[in-house]
């Protein structure tokens, strides 16, 4: 029953896996960004807002210039600019990281700056001029199972794999990466070693924001190439949960992103296929949110003792005179 008329590539499982990669990619970018910020000890709850601003500015850039590459750059800059506000407030002004992150989501989010920009630039209801689409040779893309799941994907997916590898190598094999971890674990010790704690926190928060901006642009430039208010519908929050789920490790982010991506893709796949059409669609639509709660519970009960992998200084400002 699972293998339908269109051959194995049309089987429900394969379609769900393919959509897991599609919907997991924005989560992956956003989670990698959040991971970098958190490794520096900065908790940024503004991911949803940064993603939305990245999405709207990326879409604007592609409509204006027609260049997808430029659009990704604009989305990254927009996300980074939002993160800079957070960095200034929590690093320089020592504000509460949780409240500042929430403020960023309210400022930039679905009812804030992203909606304002979308309205002001008249982006709603515009058909996209360009969108990321699969580009590999047709014979590869139609190969059994791996074709639809891995090869029939846009460049954003492959770029995200490169990013995972880069972040993983950066954190474990390079001097700045190791310094970053020192800043996150013990800013006082890092400071004594001569590492510029403030600079590390600023840079990684802003780069994290740029990643979130690109993650948002995955929606407006690839998945649903258009702009509507609140396009990301909670993906930013799922990405924050994903970092915890991945124990602050980039490679586990990859696994987790596709796991949550599958649950985000299921409502669309099932609705298109008419699978379980007797069940209310809201039940499937609530899956990603419910699963996020379930997974967080599993992770926190297993790791409650030692908060597996969480940077020790996460959420606390560093004040040299008061250490």
């Amino acid at each position: 029953m699972l293998v339908a008329a269109g051959g194995i590539n049309n089987a429900v499982l394969v379609v769900v896996l393919a959509s897991a990669v599609v919907y997991g990619t924005p989560l992956l970018y956003a989670a990698l960004g959040e991971l970098l910020a958190e490794r520096a000890g900065v908790l940024n709850l503004g991911v949803e807002g940064m993603m939305l601003v990245g999405a709207v500015m990326g879409f604007w850039a592609v409509q204006r210039t027609g260049s997808l590459l430029l659009a990704i750059g604009v989305a990254a800059v927009a996300g980074g600019a939002m993160a800079l506000i957070h960095a200034f407030l929590v690093v320089t002004l020592r504000a509460n990281q949780i409240v500042s992150g929430l403020a960023l989501t309210i400022f930039a989010g679905a009812a804030g700056l992203s909606s304002y920009l979308g309205n002001d630039l008249n982006l709603a209801d515009q058909p996209a001029k360009h969108a990321f689409s699969p580009f590999l040779p047709r014979s590869w893309r139609t190969a059994d199972v791996v074709g639809p799941v891995l090869l029939n994907q846009s460049a954003l997916v492959y770029a995200s794999w490169v990013c995972v590898a880069l972040v993983a190598v950066y954190l474990s094999r390079t001097r700045p990466g190791l310094n970053l971890r020192a800043v996150g674990e013990s800013p006082a010790a890092a400071d004594a070693m001569g590492i510029n704690v403030v600079a590390y926190r600023y840079v990684h928060t802003v780069v994290g924001g740029a990643f979130a901006g690109v993650g948002g642009a995955c929606f407006s430039l690839a998945i649903t190439p258009q702009w509507v208010d609140g396009l990301t519908s909670g993906a930013g929050w799922i990405a924050i949960a994903l970092v915890i789920f991945a124990f602050w490790r980039p490679t586990l982010c990859l696994v987790g992103a596709y796991f949550f991506g599958a649950f985000s893709g299921i409502p669309f796949t099932f609705q298109a296929r008419g699978i379980l059409s007797g069940v209310p669609p809201e039940l499937f639509q609530s899956l990603p949110y419910v699963m996020t709660v379930v997974v967080l519970v599993l992770v926190s009960s297993a790791g409650a003792r030692r908060r597996l992998g969480a940077p020790a200084s996460l959420g606390t400002p560093y004040v040299r005179e008061e250490r």
Partner: protein, 369 residues
């Protein structure tokens, strides 16, 4: 070079001057945003003030917008005071609206003396029940309550949509001719409409008065009782609280339930005061819960400050909805709320620290001279 020195004593006048200064700076930044996007700031601000507070009609409308914000603001303030970041006020308000509407429909044939209190209780129960999910997870499994409470907002929004758009539920109107074309909720019976106080040309919704009373109750609870004292100790120093033998888990459950109940009553007030039906579109589009966080943070978790700020931001929101159009894009209100909150957060620094200009060396030289 700029340096920050921790203040040993926080002067009282700063706690008034800093919020006022923050709002002024926020309006300055807003001016920049408006100029950058090609709008006239003077025109925009004067229309905002006029539509929000300019006349009795405007103030009546502002009361309508302020009522749900008062509840969600109190909801956030109650929980945030214990460093318990309940950002599920949005979903808890929906849950309260669902149960409140059920009570209203079921008891509408009786007098208002029965149905109105029943709606309040039902709303409180709905909100508290939803808030207890993250509370239990936080208390017993130490799961991060920020994310779980937020995720439940999305789930609650889907539930309320399901009840009206995708099912033949108790809440849905299935009899009237228009309801066959456009799904909508049952109209609440007359007796389930909450009363409206009429004072000198102003109409005060019952929910608004109830919210102010709740604020007073919360203030007494948090400043005059043992419960409130323990909540504050747990918020400021969880470890000290544990050593002193305070039952942190019970407090988490109690505070979250209280917080959710307040938001839930706000939901019931939406049914009883204003909408007179379970209205998924209107409720989910408004974003009351998120605005509540802004209000609580600006009011520094003080219930009376929350009342005042809910009124001011209510005016802003009311004006934003009323003016929404080509030269007044939606999203402007959210941008302003965010800016005010950023400035207030940055301003906190001035309360806690003294800003010094000049390098440390220079000052030392001064001191020895």
């Amino acid at each position: 070079m700029i340096r920050f020195e921790r203040r040993l004593r926080q002067p009282g006048w700063l706690s008034v001057a800093v919020p006022v200064g923050s709002v002024i700076v926020a309006f300055g930044l807003m001016t920049l945003v408006l100029l950058a996007t090609g709008h006239s700031p003077g025109h925009t601000f004067s229309r905002l003030l006029d539509t929000g507070f300019g006349s009795k009609v405007a103030i009546n409308e502002t009361f309508v917008s302020a009522t749900p914000l008062l509840f969600t603001g109190l909801c956030a303030a109650v929980a945030f005071r214990m460093q318990l970041f309940n950002i599920g006020g949005e979903g808890q308000l929906y849950a309260g609206a669902i149960l409140g509407a059920a009570a209203g429909i079921a008891l509408g044939n009786h007098s208002g003396w029965l149905s109105v209190p029943a709606m309040i209780v039902a709303g409180a129960v709905g909100g508290a029940a939803l808030a207890l999910v993250p509370a239990i997870l936080r208390a017993f499994l130490s799961t991060n309550e920020i994310i779980t409470s937020l995720m439940l907002n999305y789930v609650a929004a889907l539930v309320i949509n399901y009840l009206i758009f995708d099912s033949q539920s108790y809440w849905r109107d299935t009899s009237s001719p228009t309801a066959k074309v456009f799904p909508q909720g049952k109209n609440l019976p007359e007796a389930a409409n909450w009363p409206l106080a009429h004072v000198g040309g102003l109409y005060l919704p019952f929910g608004l008065l109830l919210g102010v009373v709740l604020a007073a109750v919360i203030w007494v609870l948090y400043t005059r009782t043992r419960f409130g004292f323990e909540v504050q100790v747990i918020g400021d120093s969880p470890r000290a609280a544990t050593y002193a033998g305070m039952r942190t888990r019970r407090k988490i459950l109690a505070v979250m339930a209280l917080s959710g109940a307040v938001a839930g009553i706000g939901g019931a007030s939406q049914d009883g005061d204003f909408r007179h039906t379970l209205d998924p579109r209107g409720l989910t589009a408004a974003g009351y819960g998120y605005a509540g966080i802004v209000i609580a943070a600006l009011g520094r978790y003080n219930p009376f400050a929350v009342c005042l700020i809910a009124f001011l931001l209510g005016g802003l929101q009311n004006a934003g909805f009323a003016l929404q159009g080509v030269d007044f894009p939606s999203g402007l209100v959210g941008v302003m709320q965010g800016l005010i909150l950023f400035c207030a957060l940055g301003g906190e620094l001035l309360v806690r620290y003294r800003v010094r200009l000049g390098s440390r060396g220079a000052q030392r030289a001064e001191a020895t001279a």
